[in-house]
């Protein structure tokens, strides 16, 4: 058995929800994450869902990581690649260190680029890449590094969509505030302020982001490529 879907940053939060949703759609999923907890997540999903799940603890920034991931897959069998791995190192730009700028850029953008390029041979016909960008690509206080990386992902999405059409569709999703362990650590008053700006009056659940990713990866989106879908509760225009 070989994976039909690859999800990075899949130990918890949005990535784990995406992996779970793809399994519901019948995929055998390779979950990749820096955290060794990804093994447990994969075991839990495999026990709860029909299909197979494998957990691969790996730093996406390791030079050979993309080839290791692609090497776990049979050529032409992979139908979905989700570049979800991401980190934050927030600070106002004048106080941000170059190390923090580079750390975020390398994981969020460099890692996605390297994996996408390495995965091209294992992606089958009518397959899909979904890059998890962010509403913060349009700018957010204290997130210069994150904005650059997530906006860069939009460029990667557009260029790969043109390069790989029509064999592989490439799209991006831009979530706004989503409830995860990472965002739950934000002070309550700050979270309340962020949520107050969302017309829906609440943040997204990871499963709501996963549903959109699954749709972009599915045959139902067979004529959609090079696009960025804002899953933001109306925040992008509210």
């Amino acid at each position: 058995m070989s994976p039909t879907a690859i999800v990075t940053g899949a130990a918890r939060g949005i990535g784990a929800a995406i992996a779970e949703r793809l399994m519901t759609d019948g995929h055998d999923v390779l979950l990749v994450d820096l955290s060794s907890a990804v093994v447990e997540t994969a075991e839990r999903l495999a026990a709860a869902r029909r299909g197979s799940a494998w957990g691969l603890p790996l730093d996406i920034n390791d030079t050979d990581a993309p080839q290791v991931i692609a090497g776990c897959c049979e050529a032409g069998r992979v139908k979905v690649l989700v570049n979800n791995a991401g980190i934050t190192r927030d600070a106002m730009v004048e106080k941000m260190t170059e190390d923090d700028f580079l750390a975020v850029l390398r994981v969020n953008l460099g890692g996605a680029y390297a994996l996408a390029m390495a995965a091209i041979p294992v992606l089958g016909n009518d397959s899909a890449i979904v890059n998890v960008s962010s509403k913060s690509a349009n700018g957010n206080f204290g997130q210069f590094n994150y904005a650059v990386s997530k906006a860069g992902l939009i460029g990667l999405t557009r260029s790969l969509a043109l390069l790989l059409a029509p064999r592989v569709r490439v799209n991006a999703i831009a979530p706004a505030f989503t409830h995860t362990e990472m965002t739950d650590a934000i002070p309550h008053d700050v979270r309340a302020k962020v949520v107050s700006r969302i017309p829906f009056g609440r943040g997204a659940q990871p499963s709501e982001i996963a549903d959109v990713v699954a749709w972009l990866a599915s045959p139902q989106a067979s004529y959609v490529t090079g696009q960025v879908v804002a899953a933001c509760g109306g925040r992008s225009f509210g």
Partner: protein, 160 residues
């Protein structure tokens, strides 16, 4: 946009041809000036390391500009914004748009402006419209955070 050169100065980190066009548009190069124009001026990137290097330079310039409360203009490859030039240039161009927008968001309360101006990276590109747009952006223009089009591939898809 005003047709009168604003006769301003800026720290120009740009290709020589753009520096000349900017001079004609009234923007003189002054290394100590309280304004920055950054143009990665490349039509070819060999690897991810080149993208990282160009974006890191943008980060340094943006951080300096913010400390000095100085406006900044990023010049981006217009075709690359739409992904027409391959992944490396597309990541750079769109990464610079993210940089510009974040700079505009963070600078809003202090009146620090940030713009992006699209240009062609072709060696024979007409940079006069780009220079006029940069000059306007540095003239205290009121719409920080916007992309100004100094080239024309945004109208439909350009020839490959």
């Amino acid at each position: 946009m005003s047709s009168t050169p604003p006769n301003t100065t800026a720290r120009l980190v740009v290709r020589p041809a753009l520096a000349e066009a900017l001079a004609r548009a009234g923007v003189a190069d002054e290394p100590q000036a309280a304004a920055v124009v950054y143009d990665p001026f490349t039509s070819h990137l060999a690897s991810w390391a080149d993208v990282e290097s160009a974006l890191t330079r943008a980060f340094r310039l943006a951080a300096d500009a913010k400390r000095e409360a100085a406006p900044i203009v990023f010049v981006v490859d217009g075709a690359a914004v739409y992904g027409h030039t391959g992944p490396l240039l597309a990541m750079l161009a769109n990464g610079l748009l993210g940089a510009m927008r974040n700079q505009a968001v963070e600078g809003q309360r202090k009146g620090i402006s940030a713009y992006a101006v699209t240009a062609s990276s072709a060696p024979d590109a007409d940079l006069a419209p780009v220079a006029r747009a940069v000059a306007w952006a540095l003239s205290g223009a009121p719409s920080s955070g916007q992309v100004l089009y100094g080239d024309d591939p945004h109208i439909g898809r350009p020839a490959a």
